[in-house]
């Protein structure tokens, strides 16, 4: 029973991280129907920014809490700036081109950002400081759940609630929903579509950066390549849940995380990916639009 509980918690933690990244994929796809392959790299840049700021702030003698908050904030701002810039440089000029062009642009951006960090930073694995302190009250239970896992679960849920609030109840959220439904119509009724797209990229990047900081602090190491695997898994999660759907991305990510965790726990970690992608294939056969995705009818 305890084993089962641990596997669930492990799966949820992993799923939360996937969810933070998957939201970026799904939001961007919902609005401009682009699969932003550079998104995994934004996550990696978030982790690197946090590492740099942590080292600097620790040297300057800030206390632990201040370091976590400031470094995460810096990562979020920096990654958002990257997300914004990538959109402006690579995707906006291609807005009216065929759908394949921005897709290839996205792959190009991904390769560019990876190699940029490789050259500007290092190719080595770097130790990432354990930003999340060990809570005293968790000590007796640390074989089941670590403080890092609790922090990841809480931060992710908070971020999701805030995002839902933003989308459901604010003017910006309304504009985003309108743009996702019909970009031309939204423009006609006075929505600044370019601004909405930029905001979407900024929010998606901020969430990815948060995921980057949390997971790097949890596993304790980063290098320039971490965005690739995380990006692929998060993309899978987004497709699983129904790409374009925000609750779908979260659900897909959690399902994926749990599947991987149980596959390893009860079968074998050799088959972790087999189960993860096997599930994807099954779901796409029976629900081609994903778990919560709606089939879009071609508008006339």
């Amino acid at each position: 029973m305890e084993y089962f509980l641990e596997l669930i918690l492990g799966g949820l933690t992993r799923g939360s991280i996937y969810a933070l990244i998957a939201l970026g994929y799904t939001m961007v796809y919902g609005i401009i129907e682009l699969i932003n392959f550079a998104h995994g790299e934004i996550y990696m840049i978030g982790a690197f920014t946090a590492l740099i700021f942590t080292s600097v702030l620790t040297l300057l003698g800030f206390n632990e809490i201040a370091v976590i908050v400031l470094a995460s904030l810096a990562a979020v701002i920096y990654s958002s700036a990257y997300g914004y810039t990538v959109e402006k440089i690579a995707y906006k000029p291609l807005r009216h081109a065929s759908r394949l062009s921005p897709l290839i642009g996205a792959i190009g951006m991904s390769i560019f950002l990876q190699n940029y960090v490789l050259l500007a930073q290092t190719s080595d694995f770097l130790p990432f400081p354990n930003l999340i302190p060990e809570f005293e009250f968790i000590k007796p239970y640390r074989h089941i759940i670590s403080s890092a896992e609790i922090v990841i679960l809480i931060t992710t849920s908070t971020a999701m609630i805030l995002l839902t609030f933003l989308i459901k109840f604010t003017r910006t959220g309304k504009a985003m929903r309108a743009t996702a439904q019909d970009r031309n119509m939204a423009m006609l009724v006075g929505v600044n579509v370019n601004r909405v797209i930029s905001i979407t990229f900024v929010i998606g990047s901020a969430l990815a950066a948060l995921g980057g900081v949390l997971i790097a602090s949890h596993v304790g190491q980063i290098n320039f390549y971490i965005g690739f695997v995380a990006g692929i898994k998060a993309f899978t999660a987004a497709v699983l849940g129904g790409i374009g759907s925000i609750p779908g991305a979260v659900l897909g990510a959690l399902v994926l995380g749990l599947t991987e965790s149980f596959a390893t726990g009860y079968v074998s970690s050799d088959y972790e990916d087999v189960f993860a992608f096997g599930l994807l294939v099954l779901i796409l056969i029976f629900k081609p639009a994903g778990i919560l995705g709606r089939v879009r009818h071609q508008k006339i």
Binding site: Y3, G11, T13, L126, P127, Q221, N223, G265, S269
Partner: protein, 386 residues
């Protein structure tokens, strides 16, 4: 209007054609220059991971070759010919290694030091074999490379994985006296090969049992599920086959969960990057690595030369690569030419003084006189366990 456009088009086409002509002229000049040069120099290829995440294994071999060649050229070269290095990166990826090998062969390499990773080497070996080029790896420990007998052109200055695996198993059973062992690997040629040997030896001995045998996905976001599974398998020790990025993630997660399980690994983990990344969690980890030869005067001189030239301590496999360069060039000297048969005969018959001791090679291409011993991380450094 239309007329002028087509005129522009024609002139553009002409310009492009001229460009091609110039480029092709330039290239033919270059090749003729190269063929002229090959008559004078002995070309030593150095292939391996010189960039990417495993660069820390490959860069030391480039530096070793540079130092050896610098010394030899300063003494007038070999057979009166200067030695020239052709350095090619394979990023430790099999699909790139074949291109690397093809490029070296096309450039007319005489002999190759490398590659670094077993998977990449296996992929490249066929190309060298077809071109009758001898290659010597400072770091590939996959047993099949020599034991299969498929590659008579392959030599190495490091002992193979089965010796490492049997050392790990003997150490776990006889020294640490553990009875339940989990064997993990990273699904790669190197890690899985080693894990399979460890499993085989453990099953052959009746003193210990394998309670878990699993492969983890390299680069996964975290390994908490595997770590949990290891805990519930009741394993007293983990034998891990693979490289340091996965090892440091697994050990950190185990220790964070409060597990005291003994961690034994291989020379892919006996790297200072592992200690740097895993930090306090690396403490107490065992790893097999090449026998410490730091008391050998040639080794001391080689390390000193590295420090003077590059301003840092040499990295992994530096001495193996240094020795391999010496052996290769010595064999050419003894053979009197770069002829394939003569050089491979010289490698198998002549003993050479190297930083690893006096070594030669057996029929299969394994070095006689090199081996492994066990190290443990103590206070942030690897210390030999006697």
């Amino acid at each position: 209007m239309k007329c002028s456009f087509s005129k522009q088009l024609i002139s553009l086409a002409l310009v492009i054609l001229c460009g091609f002509f110039l480029i092709s002229c330039g290239e033919s000049e270059k090749t003729s220059d190269a063929s002229h040069k090959s008559a004078e120099t002995i070309k030593l290829g150095v292939a391996g991971a010189h960039s990417g995440d495993l660069a820390s294994y490959g860069v030391p071999s480039v530096r070793a070759a540079e130092l050896v060649v610098r010394d030899i050229n300063a003494k007038g070269g070999i057979l009166g010919r200067k030695v020239e290095l052709l350095i090619e990166d394979d990023v430790c990826k099999p699909e790139i290694a074949t291109n690397t090998a093809t490029k070296l062969v096309t450039e007319g390499v005489d002999i190759v030091l490398g590659h670094i990773c077993s998977g990449a080497t296996k992929a490249a070996l066929g190309i060298y074999k077809d071109s009758k080029i001898i290659i010597m790896s400072p770091s590939c420990t996959n047993p099949a490379l020599t034991q299969s007998g498929d590659y008579p052109n392959f030599f190495r200055t490091i002992a193979s994985d089965d010796t490492q695996a049997s050392l790990e198993v003997d150490f776990a059973i006889d020294v640490l006296k553990v009875r339940k062992i989990a064997v993990l690997h990273d699904k790669g040629d190197y890690g899985k090969g080693l894990a399979e040997f460890a499993k085989k030896y453990l099953e052959a001995s009746d003193k210990a049992e394998v309670v878990l045998y699993e492969g983890v996905t390299p680069g996964a976001v975290d390994y908490s599920a595997v770590v949990q599974k290891t805990k519930y398998s009741g394993a007293e020790a983990v034998i891990f086959g693979g490289y340091h990025p996965e090892a440091s993630k697994i050990i950190s997660q185990m220790r964070k969960k409060g597990m005291e399980t003994v961690f034994i690994s291989d020379d892919g983990v006996k790297d200072n990057t592992f200690i740097k990344v895993a930090g306090e969690y690396a403490e107490g980890v065992y790893a097999t690595g090449p026998i410490d030869t730091s008391n050998n005067p040639m080794a001391i001189a080689a390390i000193e030369a590295h420090k003077n030239t590059y301003g840092s301590e040499p990295g992994a496999f530096f001495l193996n690569a240094y020795s391999a360069s010496l052996c290769l060039l010595n064999a050419i000297q003894k053979a009197g030419s770069t002829d394939y048969d003569a050089v491979s005969k010289a490698l198998r018959t002549e003993y050479v003084d190297t930083p690893l001791g006096k070594i030669s090679f057996d029929e299969r291409g394994d070095a006689i006189g090199v081996g492994f011993c066990m190290y443990q991380v103590q206070n942030g450094v690897y210390v030999e366990v006697k």
